[in-house]
Structures are given as structure tokens and as C-alpha cells.
């Protein structure tokens, strides 16, 4: 049990079954406090299940989840979660959505609002504080979601393909903004994506999951690209290309296997 103290999240031989379907099988995963870890794998490999386990939204069928050394029962109170789907409160304004977490935690309305306004400026939504989510573009809604989960200052951030619905350029911008936020206040990030490029560009470590059902961790790769990273150019750097080729060789097999299982 080395490094238990410094692990923000530790999954210990975790299996999760939904009725007769085994989503993940015997997963061991350790996320060091302050690290940015990406999980990649073919679609349907249980990536979201992994995050939901770490969030405490679901409980493991076997094994245990530890958060900063303590086993997790119920919701993970030290984690924020950015969902793949739109999860904003549609009937609240941008301001109300961003302030919601603070209000839930008992922060006084005026202070919550003042801090939410700071975040509105930080994510570039000045002038939209009274808009409703339905009046915003997809990228703007993601900014709201990002501010919403960061404002309560969680130690851990769980992100489930948060930018997958965006167009390539908006996505690149959101990734850069995420890295800026993370540099300014380093948190433990567990970032799930099906896009290896995105995983490489952002993370300190990339974890490859096998094709589902009964996914497991195939391999883990340390990403030694220097920081701060400039995402605009990073994809053309030689070291990036090397890493990409290396990891893709493994990921490709899992993707092909998932095709076989699907057909």
C-alpha cells in the first residue's frame, strides 16, 4: 500500500456489474493528488462507470474506492463533476447556475453572487449573467458548467468527455481554458475521453482501458510533455507524435476488439 496518503483517488480491485452486465472488472487505479490523469478507451468501455464510482454516485459491486486514504461511502464530498450531457439547471440564469453550489453549501446570497460574478468574468461570459442556458451556445453552456463545478473549489474534478459535443475549434479553446484554470489552482483531475489526442495534450498520465464488457486497465503511460503547454501547437511537436504512436498502437487493438464485439 505505497503512496496511499498521496493518492486523491484509489480504486482497489473494483468490479461493477449492472444486473448481468459487467461494466468493469478488477480495476486498480491510483490518481496522485494534484495530478491530471486522462482515461481513454473505446466507446462502451465503462469510462463513465469509473467516474461515477469515483463520485460515489454508484457503489462498486466488488472492491473499494478510497478518497484521500478514506474509503468512500455515499457521495464523494471532495469531488466536483462535469458531465458529458447538459446538466445545468435550465430554470436558473447563468448567475444562478454558477452560484448554485455555493448557495447549497450555505454561503450567503450576496457573497455567492459576488463570487459567481468573478467566475462569469473568468470564463468569459461577461454580459450573460442574466441569460438562461437555453439562450447560450454549446460552448458557452460548457463554460457555465466549468465555472459551476470550479467555484466550490473541490479537491478533485471528475470530467466525463466534457467537450465531446463541441466543434473542433471551440473544443481547443475550452481545453486551453481548462489548463489555465488548472495551472492557477491545481486540483486532482480525472478526465475521461475517447480522444487520445485530447488525453495526451492535457494529462500527466494516460490510462488505457480495454474494450468492454468487463473492462480493465490495459496500461498506464506517463506523459512527459513540458508545461505550460500550448495546445494550439502541441499536436505537431515530435514528442507528442512519438507518444501518440506509442499509445495508439495499444489503444488501436482495443478499439478493433470493440468493433468485433459490436458486430
Amino acid at each position: 500500500m505505497h503512496g496511499t496518503e498521496s493518492a486523491a483517488i484509489r480504486l482497489d480491485n473494483v468490479t461493477k456489474r449492472f444486473a448481468a452486465y459487467t461494466a468493469i472488472q478488477g480495476i486498480d487505479l491510483e490518481v496522485r493528488a494534484g495530478a491530471f490523469v486522462s482515461v481513454v478507451g473505446p466507446s462502451g468501455c465503462g469510462k463513465s462507470t469509473l467516474l461515477n464510482l469515483a463520485a460515489g454516485l454508484i457503489a462498486p459491486s466488488e472492491g473499494a474506492v478510497f478518497v484521500f486514504g478514506q474509503s468512500l461511502y455515499g457521495l464523494n464530498r471532495r469531488a466536483g463533476y462535469m458531465f458529458q450531457q447538459d446538466a445545468l439547471l435550465a430554470w436558473k440564469t447563468v448567475l444562478g447556475n454558477i452560484a448554485a453550489g455555493l448557495r447549497f453549501r450555505g454561503v450567503h446570497a450576496r457573497e455567492a453572487e459576488a463570487r459567481a460574478r468573478e467566475w462569469i468574468a473568468r470564463v468569459g461570459l461577461r454580459g450573460f449573467s442574466d441569460a438562461f442556458p437555453s439562450q447560450l451556445s454549446g460552448g458557452m453552456r460548457k463554460r457555465v458548467a466549468m465555472a459551476q463545478s470550479w467555484i466550490v473549489d473541490p479537491d478533485i474534478l471528475l470530467m466525463d468527455e466534457p467537450f465531446s459535443a463541441l466543434d473542433v475549434h471551440t473544443r481547443l479553446r475550452m481545453e486551453s481554458e481548462l489548463l489555465e484554470l488548472w495551472t492557477a489552482s491545481p486540483k486532482t483531475v480525472l478526465f475521461v475521453t475517447h480522444d487520445l489526442e485530447e488525453a495526451l495534450a492535457l494529462a500527466d498520465e494516460v490510462v488505457v482501458l480495454s474494450a468492454g464488457p468487463a473492462s480493465r486497465v490495459v496500461n498506464r503511460y506517463g506523459i512527459d510533455l513540458p508545461r505550460p503547454r500550448h495546445l494550439i501547437d502541441i499536436r505537431t511537436e515530435p514528442r507528442f507524435a512519438d507518444l501518440y504512436r506509442h499509445i495508439w498502437a495499444q489503444l488501436k487493438e482495443e478499439v478493433l476488439r470493440s468493433y468485433e464485439r459490436a458486430s
Binding site: 454516485l57 458531465f83 446538466a87 439547471l89
Partner: protein, 255 residues
């Protein structure tokens, strides 16, 4: 903008023309003796009767009673519908227990309850309100129930991860979501409240627009019947217009 205006104007004109044509032919047929005036009255007579009601102020107390009954029926029915719909959606076992009985009650045509309510609550406004409540309650109840169960689980999970307690989840996620459904059924439930109280008045009362119509019918005063119908339609349309505005404001966050 110009294009829209020029396309809109004609339809309003055509609508007015259609109305004028229908009323005009009714008037002409009666004048020509093709329709019996005793059975069908005449638009000019109906209009004269309405003007007379307005001038003498005869109509106002009746209209006020009907509106008061409808408003109370709506308020009581909607409040109890929201509370019960919410409670039963949050307590699924209790919901499952009473579900067949709620369906059974809802399957009942409300008109047959009117005589019972007359016996229970008398000839005054409360027998009409009771009838209106039985209509509004079920509309609001089913919509609230659906609204609570229809909440996107991702939104619930998001609120929980943001630190919402059970009560905060109810207040900030479940109630707004359920109210969306209730609001969008507002004009239906208010319309039905009006219909129910008028039916109640019609079947036995001493005041109200329904009473006016039934009185006129009792003395074969077809002009009075049509005038009562016209007033009722105009008021329901007016209320509906107001409710529409209210609904648009309440649901302004929707795209």
C-alpha cells in the same frame, strides 16, 4: 418584417370576413324566414341583449360569481394537485397503493357528481367550486406527478455533486421541473375550471352565468341563451389570453 406584416394582415382580415359572413348569413336566414326566430334568435337581437346587460349592469354580479367560483376552484384544485402529485411521486410505494383508486376517480364523468355536491354543499358557490376542484385537481396532479418523475437524472446528479441536500434538491430541481409541467397545463386547467363551475351553476344555483343561461332556457328565451354563451366565450378567451401571457413569463427560460 415587412414581408411578415403583409402576410399577417390578410389572415386577420379574412378571419373577420369569415365571422361577418357567418353572422350575416344567420341574420339573413332568420330575416328571410328560413330559420325560425323563436328557435334561433338573431345576431342583432343577441348583440342588443348583451349591450342591454352591460348598460344596466345586470351581467356583472353573475359574471363576478362565476369568476370567483372558477378562481377558487382553480386555486384549491391546483394546490392540492401539486401537493399530492409531488408527495406520491416522492413516496412511490404509497403512490403504487393509491394509483388504481386515483384512476378510478378520474374515470368518473364529473357531471354526475354535481347533484351529490348540491346535496353536500348547498345551492351556493361551494357546490360549484367542489365540482371545479375535481376537474382541476386531476389535471394538475397528473402533470406534477409526471414532472417529478421526468426530471433528468443527470441534472439531479449534478445538483447532488454541487452539494445539494435532499430538501435543496426538492426546492431547486424537483419543484421547478414539476412546475414546468403544471404551468404548461395552466390554460387547460383554468379553462376546465370555468366549464365545471358553469355546469354546476347550470344544474342548480341562484346566480352566475350558468344560472343565466339555464333561466333563459327555462322560458324559451333563445336570445338570452345565445347572449349568455357569447359572454362566457368572450370571458374564457380573455382569461386564456392572460394565462398565456403569464405562462410565457413563467417559462421564459425555455427556448
Amino acid at each position: 418584417m415587412n414581408e411578415r406584416a403583409s402576410r399577417r394582415l390578410p389572415i386577420a382580415v379574412w378571419q373577420a370576413l369569415l365571422g361577418a359572413a357567418l353572422l350575416g348569413s344567420w341574420q339573413a336566414l332568420v330575416n328571410a324566414g328560413k330559420l325560425d326566430k323563436f328557435f334561433f334568435s338573431r345576431p342583432s337581437d343577441v348583440a342588443a341583449r348583451i349591450v342591454e346587460w352591460l348598460k344596466t349592469g345586470f351581467i356583472w354580479p353573475h359574471l363576478a360569481v362565476t369568476l370567483e367560483e372558477a378562481a377558487l376552484a382553480f386555486t384549491i384544485g391546483a394546490a392540492s394537485g401539486v401537493v399530492c402529485g409531488f408527495g406520491l411521486a416522492r413516496a412511490p410505494r404509497l403512490g403504487a397503493l393509491v394509483d388504481p383508486y386515483i384512476r378510478l376517480l378520474n374515470a368518473l364523468p364529473r357531471v354526475v357528481l354535481a347533484p351529490i355536491f348540491l346535496l353536500w354543499f348547498g345551492l351556493g358557490i361551494w357546490s360549484k367550486i367542489a365540482l371545479g376542484v375535481t376537474v382541476v385537481f386531476f389535471i394538475v396532479f397528473f402533470n406534477t406527478h409526471q414532472g417529478v418523475r421526468d426530471v433528468d437524472p443527470v441534472v439531479v446528479n449534478n445538483a447532488r455533486m454541487l452539494g445539494a441536500s435532499e430538501w435543496q434538491l426538492v426546492r431547486h430541481v424537483l419543484i421547478p421541473s414539476a412546475l414546468t409541467w403544471v404551468f404548461s397545463s395552466l390554460h387547460i386547467s383554468i379553462g376546465f375550471a370555468m366549464i365545471a363551475v358553469v355546469v354546476g351553476e347550470y344544474l342548480g344555483s341562484a346566480r352566475g352565468v350558468g344560472y343565466l343561461i339555464s333561466q333563459a332556457e327555462g322560458v324559451f328565451d333563445t336570445t338570452g341563451v345565445f347572449a349568455g354563451m357569447a359572454v362566457l366565450s368572450a370571458v374564457v378567451l380573455l382569461v386564456g389570453w392572460g394565462v398565456n401571457r403569464l405562462e410565457r413569463w413563467l417559462l421564459r427560460w425555455k427556448a
